[in-house]
Point group: D3
Chain length 139, copies 6
C-alpha cells in the first residue's frame, strides 16, 4: 500500500521544471483533513477529550487549532493558485479562478462551522483542484 501511494507522485515530480519546482495539493488536503477531524471531535468533546481537561476547555482548544489549520489550508491553496498554475492551464481549465476562490472561502467558513459535512465540502473542493493539478502534471 505504501509503495502504491508514494511512487506515482515521485515520478510526476521528476518531470517538474518550474522555478520552485515542487508543488503538491496534498499539503492543503492534509490540513483540511485535520479541520474535518477537529469538527468531528468538537461534536464528541465529552468522549474525545483527555482525562485532565473539561469538555469546555477541549472545545476551546479545538476552535483555536481549527482556526490555524484552516489558515494553512488557505495558504497552501493560494500558493498553488498563484505560483503553480500558468495562463496555459487557465485556458484549458477556465474554472480555475472560481474553484480556488470557492475553496479558500470554504476554508474561511470552516473556522465558523463545527459541522464535519462542511469540512467534507472543503475536502471535495480541494480534490477537484487536485484532479486538475495532476492532469496538468501528466500532460
Amino acid at each position: 500500500m505504501f509503495e502504491a501511494s508514494l511512487r506515482p507522485r515521485r515520478v510526476v515530480h521528476a518531470h517538474c521544471d518550474l522555478p520552485c519546482g515542487v508543488y503538491d495539493p496534498a499539503q492543503a488536503r492534509i490540513e483540511a483533513e485535520s479541520v474535518k477531524a477537529i469538527q468531528q471531535r468538537y461534536r464528541d468533546a465529552e468522549k474525545m477529550k483527555s482525562a485532565p481537561e473539561s469538555a469546555e476547555d477541549y472545545r476551546s482548544r479545538a476552535l483555536q487549532i481549527k482556526e490555524q489549520r484552516a489558515d494553512l489550508v488557505k495558504h497552501h491553496l493560494w500558493v498553488l493558485w498563484t505560483d503553480y498554475f500558468k495562463p496555459e492551464h487557465l485556458e484549458k481549465y477556465p474554472q480555475l479562478h472560481e474553484l480556488f476562490w470557492t475553496a479558500t472561502k470554504e476554508a474561511g467558513l470552516a473556522k465558523k462551522s463545527q459541522d464535519p459535512e462542511q469540512g467534507q465540502k472543503l475536502l471535495d473542493a480541494i480534490d477537484e483542484i487536485a484532479k486538475i493539478f495532476w492532469e496538468t502534471k501528466a500532460a
Copy 2:
C-alpha cells in the same frame, strides 16, 4: 494515476482515532523534495535562473529558501516523532529514535550541502520512517 495516489492515504486516515488525529509523513517528504530540487537548481544556476537576475543572486536566494525548507522538514519529522509515535510503536520498532535523530540531522546538513545526493539521503531517511508509519496505521 491521481486516484491511485490519493485513495490509499485517505482510507487509512479514516481509521485514525488519536487526539490530534491527522498525521502524514508526506508533509516532511514534500519539503525534502523541495530541498533536493533546490540543490539541483543551485548547481545549474546559470541555466535555471530567470532572466532578470544574476546567477549569484539566484544562488543566494536558493540558499535562503533551502534553509527554510530544511527547517520545515525538521519540524514535520519532530511532530511525527513526539506526537504520533507511542511506546507500543517503539517496542515493535526499537530503531525509531535513531531513525528520527538521523533524519533530522540530515535535514540540518542539507542547509550546508548543495549536493542533490545529500538531499536524496534525506528523502531515503524519510521514506524509511514513512514505511514504518504506514505499517503502524495498517496494523
Copy 3:
C-alpha cells in the same frame, strides 16, 4: 496633510459590517513600496550600504528582505481576494480574479527582479485593486 490622508479611510471603515470587518489595501501597498525601495537600493548598493558592511553583503541582505516583503504583499492580497470580496463584487467587477492573479504573480516576480520598474508595475497592480476596493466600500 496628515489629516487629509487618514480621515477618509477612517470614515469608510465606520460603515464596515462584515464578519472580520477591517480590510485595507494599504497593507499590501506598504509592503510593495518596500519591495520597490529595496530594488532601488540594491542597484545603488555602494552608496546605500552602511559603513560596516560590504556592498556584497548589503545586496545579500536586500535579496533576503525583499523575499519576505514580497511574501507579505502576496499574503495581504490573497486575504483581500478571498475574505473581503463577495460574489456581488465579482458581478460588478468581473476582472477581479484576473487582477489578483496578475498582482500576486507580479509579487512573485519581484523576488527575482532587481528592477524598480518591475516594483512599480506591482504597485500599479495594487492601486488598480485598491481603486475597486474603495469603490465597493463607498457603494
Copy 4:
C-alpha cells in the same frame, strides 16, 4: 475620495532615504481598528455571529483573534519606535518614549478588555504617534 487618501502618503514616501526606507503608522492603525471592531462584535456576539456557530464559540474566536491583532499592533509600533525614530526626532519630541510605552501597554491591555472605548484609546494613542511621524516626514 480614493485619490485623496492615497496620494499624500505616496508623495511623502518618495522623499524617504533611510536604510529600510518605508515606514507607515497605518500598519499599526489598521490592526488597532481590527482590535476595536472585535471588541464591538464580542459585545454583540448574538447578532454578529454567523449561523453555524454558537455565541460562546464566536466569543472564544474573537478573543483569540484579538490577541493576535494586539500583538501585531505592538510589533508595528515597536518597529517605528526603534527603527524609524532617530535622536534628532527625540530632541524635538521628548515625549516620544512615553508615547510609545503607553501605546504598546494599551495594546497589551486590549487583550484583556472587551470594551470598544479601550480600543478607541489605543487608536487615539496611535494617532498621536502618527501625527508626529508625518510631521517628521514633512520636515
Copy 5:
C-alpha cells in the same frame, strides 16, 4: 545574585565551537515556567484575572497562550536534541533519546492539563536534560 546567575553560563559558552555554537536549555525552561504559571493562574482565574475581563475569558486566553508556550518548549527541546547533541554524547548518556521523547510528550500533555503539578513534571524533565547538557559543556 545577578552576577552569580549569569557568569557561569557565559564562561561555558566561550568554549563553544560547534557550527551554530550557542545552545542553552534555559530557553525551554523559561517557556515551561510560563506553562506552569499559566496552569496555576487558570485555577485561580477569579483572583488572577484583571478587572475588565470575565473569569471565563481569562481561562480561554490562558488555554490559548499555554498552547503556544508548550509549542515553544517542544521546539527548543527538539533543537537541542537534533542540533546540539552528538553521537559521542549519546554513548555516554544512552538515555538521551528517551529523555527528550518523554519531555516533549510532557510538553504536549501540558496543553491538555491545567494542573501545575503536571507543569512541574515538565520542568523536572527539562532540568534532567539541562544537567546532562551542562556536564557535556564542562567536559
Copy 6:
C-alpha cells in the same frame, strides 16, 4: 556549576505575581550571544565552514541567520520593556527608556555589522538592562 547557574533564577521567579508572570532577560541574551558568535564565524568563514559548502555560501547563510537572531533580540527586549517594566520601575530607573531604545537600535545595527565588538556592545547593553531587571525582582 550547573546548580549555581539555575538555582537563583528559579527562586526569583517563585516570587513573580504579574499577569503573564515569567520574564527573563536571558532570552534576549542567548540570541545576542548567537549574533556575536555569528559575527566571529563570519570573519573566520574559511575555517568555520563545513566541508560541503563554499566560504561564500557560509557567509551568505551567516548573514541570513544573524538577521533572524537580531530580530529575536529586539523582540525579547521589546516585550521586557512594554510588558514587564511598570511606571514605578521607571521612577527608580529613569534611564530605562533610553537603555531599551539604545539596545534595540544596537540589535538593528548588528544586522549590518560583521564585527564581534559590535555584538559585544549589544551584549553589554542587555547586561545593563538585566542588572536592573534582577534588582527589581529582588526588591
